[in-house]
């Protein structure tokens, strides 16, 4: 992989198809914030998202749906450098 120049702030979509107008621009008004409630449920499709990631020594965007066909363990944690 070639080292690419990247901007300091690289927008990523975050949740895809969840309470967004059409995904083209991030929604900022509060009514949209309201719609972003928990939708993950066992037995239901995992909400797709795109996020900036650090992987194999590089920065890239990762989409959950890129991993269709594989088992995925998605682990949220409170923060880097925390103790547990």
């Amino acid at each position: 992989m070639t080292e690419e120049q990247q901007p300091c702030v690289q927008p990523s979509k975050g949740p895809i198809g969840v309470g967004e107008s059409d995904g083209s621009e991030p929604s900022r008004d509060e009514s949209k914030q309201e719609e972003r409630k928990m939708i993950a449920r066992v037995g239901k499709p995992a909400p797709d998202f795109e996020a900036n990631a650090y992987v194999d020594g590089a920065f890239r965007t990762v989409k959950l749906s890129d991993y269709k066909g594989q088992w995925v363990t998605l682990c949220f944690y409170p923060g880097d450098f925390t103790f547990v």
Binding site: P78, G79, F81, V84
Partner: protein
């Protein structure tokens, strides 16, 4: 099995944590993508974003090859996860997916499974007893 870790830290912070600390715990650093959820928007749809603290709390989601959530576990920050239990659940979900059988409480590979159907009604006691839960 693909692991994805997510926190509200930036991907820049992930890089420094990997280099400064994780690579000293795990040879070569952790081998999975470290995702950034700045603003907690992803955590919100997974029900793990704490608005007061501004962080994603400890939540683990097991997602099958069709993209369906099969299991979730959410803990407050001071208590860490049990990786052995995660692995057991993965083994059980894979077994269920491959065979159509069901795995009773405490199942680990090699223990009896259940074959759901009319013939099993009222007969689970013949296959499973409480001591098998441990």
């Amino acid at each position: 099995m693909q692991v994805l870790s997510v926190s509200t830290d930036s991907h820049f912070t992930h890089k420094i944590w990997q280099e400064e600390e994780l690579s000293k715990m795990v040879d070569g650093g952790v081998p999975f993508p470290m995702l950034s959820d700045q603003g907690g928007r992803i955590g919100q749809v997974y029900g793990v974003y704490d608005e007061d603290a501004g962080i994603d709390i400890r939540g683990r989601f097991l997602i099958d090859p069709d993209g369906v959530v099969q299991a979730m576990e959410v803990l407050t920050p001071p208590v860490g996860r049990n990786v052995s239990e995660l692995i057991r659940q993965i083994q059980a979900f894979k077994h269920v997916r491959e065979t159509g059988e069901a795995t009773p409480s405490g199942w680990t590979p090699g223990k009896p499974t259940l074959k759901p159907g009319p013939g099993l009604v009222g007969k689970v006691w013949e296959i499973w007893k409480p001591e098998k839960a441990f």
